[in-house]
Symmetry: C2
Subunit: 340 residues, 2 copies
């Protein structure tokens, strides 16, 4: 990002700690064995975009399922709220059952929901998640109306009122959404807010590498991603090389390394934080989303970076110890209990 844009001017008091923008999806979660993954030629652990036919086919083949609200950035906003932070979310749903469910579940945990302008012809997006016995999730996303997000759906006032704007790489696909990201980042910076992005998926990065790289260079102050995503972004073979590059692009980068924890990268150096121990991993859905929630919660309270990462790790540990992408307990209570 250009030096002069951060901070541009003294910021007004923020009404929200974080404003998220992402694909608004309801998760359809089902358990299956590895043979289901192989038979349907799925890539275990990845997210694949599917069209209507493929979504219908996969759903029909799947066992009985449970529906619960998901969406990467939306999960993160629920995590921020659960920690006691103030969060808003911008994402597109339809007026169907799943759209109502999605809105309800955000409001129920205190996240301000901005559903964008209505579009009645396209159903609410859904993500068919197959959880295998090793707790990995394989996601097949039918985006529906969620991917139609455009500049007109970005509520400038909400973006301006958030200390940090948090955008989800999954949504960075159609040109309208890319334009919406640029617009939202512009509004945030104009109001002296911080702009953050999660790379979401190495396939997403691969598909739009040049655009992602330009966005990161021009607009992103705080970048989230895992090792694969970061190496894909810079097309390098080592994490060290990727870190050298991202230090030049962003004021702050947080690289998750799975069970090993995470690296917090600043111009001053690299901080390594261990992951929280988890007794039994049941479903890794939402791990990265909740890590970002914890980090952002700490960051918007000006906590030391190590403490931000520790809170992220606690939030991630909670969500992978049960099925479902959002916390089942108040994270603020959990956090209070871990303070020695």
């Amino acid at each position: 990002m250009p030096e002069e844009s951060f901070p541009a001017a003294p910021a007004a008091p923020a009404r929200y700690d974080v404003v998220g923008v992402g694909n608004a999806l309801v998760d359809v979660i089902s358990h299956a064995g590895d043979e289901f993954i192989h038979h349907h030629e799925l890539v275990k652990g990845s997210m694949t975009l599917v069209d209507t036919d493929r979504a219908v086919h996969l759903y029909a083949a799947l066992g009985s399922a449970v529906e619960m609200s998901g969406g990467s950035a939306a999960n993160t906003m629920c995590g921020v709220a659960s920690l006691g932070g103030r969060a808003a979310y911008i994402g597109k749903v339809s007026g169907d059952d799943l759209g109502n469910v999605f809105g309800h579940d955000l409001r129920a945990v205190g996240v301000q929901f901005r559903p964008g302008t209505p579009d009645t012809d396209t159903p609410t997006g859904r993500c068919i998640i197959v959880v295998t016995p090793d707790a990995q999730r394989t996601m097949n996303t039918y985006l529906g109306v969620s991917s139609l997000l455009c500049v007109g759906d970005i509520d400038d006032e909400t973006v301006a009122a958030g200390a940090v704007l948090y955008m989800e790489g999954y949504l960075y696909d159609r040109s309208e959404a890319k334009e919406a990201f640029r617009h939202a980042a512009g509004v945030a910076h104009k109001n002296s807010r911080m702009v953050s992005l999660t790379l979401s998926d190495s396939f997403c990065v691969d598909r739009h590498r040049d655009d992602f790289r330009a966005l990161v260079t021009d607009e992103v102050d705080l970048l989230f991603g895992n090792e694969d995503e970061l190496m894909s972004l810079y097309q390098v073979d080592s994490l060290d090389a990727a870190i050298a590059r991202v230090r030049h692009d962003c004021a702050l980068a947080v690289v998750t390394t799975g069970p090993a924890g995470c690296l917090v990268v600043t111009p001053d150096g690299v901080l390594r934080i261990a992951a929280e121990p988890v007794a039994r991993v049941l479903d890794t859905t939402g791990a990265g989303d909740l890590f970002a929630a914890g980090f952002l919660y700490g960051y918007t309270r000006s906590m030391p970076l190590g403490e931000c990462a520790r809170i992220g790790s606690i939030a991630a540990a909670e969500v992978i110890s049960h099925v479902g992408p959002r916390p089942l307990v108040e994270l603020s209570t959990l956090l209070a209990e871990t303070k020695g």
Copy 2:
């Protein structure tokens, strides 16, 4: 029932062990404290029918929720299928998201679904379930299209092909549904099939006592109910008095007595069966439904009545040890493990 109607004639081989008829509902499950129950003037542990306004109001007040297919008799049919039995289900849904979810979840476990004739103007029914920390569930049912079931929705061929017809008292409300029950029972008896009914809820029985009593006397061979429901049916103050009455009305009655187990009532006597021990009761939703599934599974295999009740108890124990109204493991596997 009239002596001469059971069995009326040698029955043709049955394609299904059990054919269920009931309210096709998707459960919307959320956890809340006792203060939620008091504040909204709910009767803990009961099922209350709510109109659209009340359903919208309660849902808005509720925390984030999980959607999964439910409906009492539908849960029972899934239990029969999970035990390795052959089940079909007749119930009404709409072509909306929740209707699709409901149909999917039945088919996914191998239950033949007969959704009745389409009705596009009324949404699929849903049951808002509040689970309190004591594992009790308080149900608020918005019936939607499910309650519009009428004679035209009963697939005679399916009913004729089931060894046992199983009807759910919850549905026995509108006169069209009452007529459908009589019709289905007539088809079953004409084909030398057994007719069973679950009383479902003491409030249901209270609202339609005379009609219920006539149905039990005229048509029901096998009656399921708990103590309260049975005493309400006969308007007596003691279980013994109720048992004396039901022995006269039905060839077989199974009275569940919660953690104490159940009583199997025949003209010859009363058999008392203990409940299976459960390490930790998490959500009692579906307990009675799965008990009936286990009993019917055993009964349609001509097992001794005590063994039927024991299988019912095993199936009920599985479903109350987790959240959700349907088994999470293959009950056939569970059953095989319990055989010493």
